[in-house]
């Protein structure tokens, strides 16, 4: 009897474990392929050109890969010039559903006389099915607006976030608006890039126009969040569910980053139920599989 009872418990558990492990075994022959090369060459002064490689993944079981990023180890042209810019920001994960799965890798321009280049590195594949703790559910997340949300799962992943009231969020956005200090910073950066005063004017006007965008667009039934940038970078996706696990319909969302703080608003179609559950898909170490790549001959256009 005891054994039977144990089997009743163990069998479903084993099934769950197997299901969780399956995606890890599901990927085969995964490799990184080159889909496009853009050598954008701009005369001195602007410095905004560069060599962009579009990389994608090929192989079996890729449907379980939610997002991916490409970390470049080495990129050199046929003259031996290093094309990796040390100032480039660390690569972020890209959703596999966007841009047909293509991931941009930005490098320095090779000289005009170069004809080919070689690139090697590692593709990181995010497979949430490999790590059950990569999905964190936070019931009661609306309980303490203005205070960091408490959740074991979030704490373990070192993710911090705060739910704001609409009023607090609007106030925080106001503080983030383009002020004289920020305009002076843009002006200084533009000057550093060699722009003239008469060229900086339209740039500032454009920055102001972007700053205006969405400033009166705070949905009536919105979810308003404030989180440190480091936490935001760990979130692959977030959504809302009912306590029974049904997804709550949401509209678009937008985020505004200012230095180390991200303000994020999510348009909710109807008033959010008090018992709604916030669900986060997190980039955890266990959920990431690394695949090395080495593309030896990239012909330059």
């Amino acid at each position: 009897m005891k054994r039977t009872a144990a089997c009743r418990v163990v069998a479903p558990l084993a099934f769950v474990v197997l299901c969780a492990a399956r995606p890890a075994e599901g990927q085969a022959n995964v490799k990184v392929v080159l889909t496009d090369v853009v050598d954008d060459r701009i005369s001195d002064g602007m410095g905004s050109g560069g060599l962009v490689l579009m990389l994608n993944l090929e192989g079996e079981g890729l449907e379980a890969v939610k997002s991916a990023r490409m970390r470049v180890k080495e990129a050199k042209d046929d003259s031996g010039k290093n094309l990796v810019n040390p100032k480039t920001r660390p690569p972020e994960f890209s959703d596999r559903n966007s841009n047909a799965g293509n991931i941009q890798v930005a490098l320095d321009n090779p000289p005009r006389s170069a004809t080919s280049m070689r690139i090697s590195g590692t593709a990181d594949l995010f497979l949430p099915g490999r790590d059950p703790s990569s999905v964190v559910k936070v019931p009661g997340f609306q309980a303490r607006p203005g205070k960091p949300v408490t959740s074991k799962g979030l704490k373990a992943a070192k993710v911090e976030l705060t739910v704001l009231s609409k009023e607090s969020y609007v106030e925080a956005r106001k503080k983030n608006r383009l002020d004289e200090k920020k305009i002076a910073e843009i002006r200084a950066e533009a000057k550093e890039r060699g722009m003239k005063d008469e060229e900086i004017g339209p740039l500032i006007e454009m920055a102001k126009a972007f700053d205006e965008m969405g400033e009166s667009d705070f949905p009536e039934h919105g979810l308003y969040l404030q989180l440190p940038k480091a936490s935001e970078e760990k979130i692959q996706e977030l959504w809302l569910e009912t306590p029974t696990g049904e997804r709550i319909e949401t509209g678009g969302y937008s985020a505004r980053t200012d230095k180390d703080v991200v303000l994020k608003q999510i348009d909710v179609k109807k008033a959010l139920p008090r018992d709604a559950v916030l669900v986060l898909s997190l980039f955890t170490e266990k959920a990431i599989v690394s695949v090395p790549f080495d593309i030896k001959e990239v012909r330059l256009p």
Binding site: D40, K182, I186, T257, K264
Partner: protein
């Protein structure tokens, strides 16, 4: 859910991408008329005071390969030139490659980036910058031996009848707009009121019913769905649209520009549907104090210049 991240550095990058005129001045143009392909219009072109500011050689076997020259015209403030086109007539690199695009003569007058922002409130206005597009030179090429052609600028301020301004445009719904500049250019415009749009929608439905009968369609359900579709797809007006009836036999109208009560530009889309012109607003909806400006072309407002650049180093 896709995030829109609007950090300050991103703002700056976006703005920089949209304002590719920041490079050092490289080559002063040596005015020399040149004509290998057909000029864009018959009016007399004069040599431009032009400086080549940027060369962008965007090389790819994928989408949008092109070599673009950014040409600055220091004598013409950016807010005055509302549209431009550059027709490249000759372009050759040091290997002798012909870089003139097959569609070079078809280039159309397009609104200028800088012109759309109006006169800056502070500081000196930036100069106009226009863009000439070529084929990519081969990788082995090192210089552009010669690039020449013609620049056409639409400067409505040069013609007293080039602009017609209508403050509080919403209050003019239901009647024809009266302005000397419209009359001079043979243009007639009416702003349709909600009631007029309703009448027009009804007429569209009736016209569709008559058309169906003429085509021998007898099934009433089919006719009803055709009529419903015609009425549904007819411009609806409402707070996000201004619906105009426009007669412009000389095709003088270049653009419609909107500004709010403080004179700030308000961007809109323009489309022609069912014989009407629709101005559509996705951001702020038109308010009672908004102004509509009709920009019109004429021989006086279309300014033509020739340009030539030689021995331009390729990036």
């Amino acid at each position: 859910m896709n995030a829109t991240r609007n950090s300050l550095p991103l703002l700056l990058v976006m703005a920089l991408v949209a304002a590719p005129a920041a490079a050092q001045s490289k080559v002063k143009s040596k005015p020399k008329p040149a004509a290998k392909t057909e000029a864009p219009a018959p009016a007399k072109a004069t040599p431009a005071n032009a400086t080549l500011k940027t060369v962008q050689d965007r090389r790819t076997e994928g989408h949008f390969p092109r070599c673009t020259l950014g040409i600055e015209l220091p004598d013409i403030p950016a807010h005055e030139a509302r549209a431009s086109r550059v027709v490249v007539m000759k372009a050759v690199d040091d290997l002798g490659t012909n870089l003139v695009r097959e569609d070079a003569a078809d280039t159309r007058l397009e609104p200028t980036q800088r012109g759309s922002f109006g006169k800056p409130k502070d500081g000196p206005p930036p100069p106009t910058i226009v863009f000439a597009e070529l084929k990519n030179p081969p990788r082995k090429a090192t210089t552009l031996k010669e690039v020449s052609g013609e620049i056409e600028l639409y400067i409505p301020g040069r013609d007293p009848n080039g602009e017609a301004e209508f403050p509080k445009i919403l209050s003019m719904a239901g009647k024809p707009l009266a302005h000397a500049a419209l009359k001079e250019n043979g243009v007639e415009i009416s702003v349709l009121s909600e009631a007029q749009i309703g009448v027009e929608r009804k007429k569209a439905g009736e016209a569709e019913r008559a058309k169906a009968k003429k085509e021998g369609i007898t099934d009433e359900d089919t006719i009803r769905s055709m009529v419903e579709y015609a009425v549904d797809s007819f411009p609806k007006g409402g707070e996000g649209q201004i619906v105009l009836r426009v007669k412009d036999p000389k095709k003088a109208i270049q653009d419609f520009k909107m500004a709010d009560g403080e004179g700030n530009p308000q961007f809109n889309g323009k489309s022609d549907e069912a014989g009407l012109t629709i101005l559509e607003f996705w951001g702020d909806k038109p308010k009672p104090d908004w102004t509509m400006k009709v920009l019109m072309q004429s021989d006086r407002s279309l300014v033509r210049h020739t340009f030539v650049f030689r021995d331009v180093p390729l990036p």
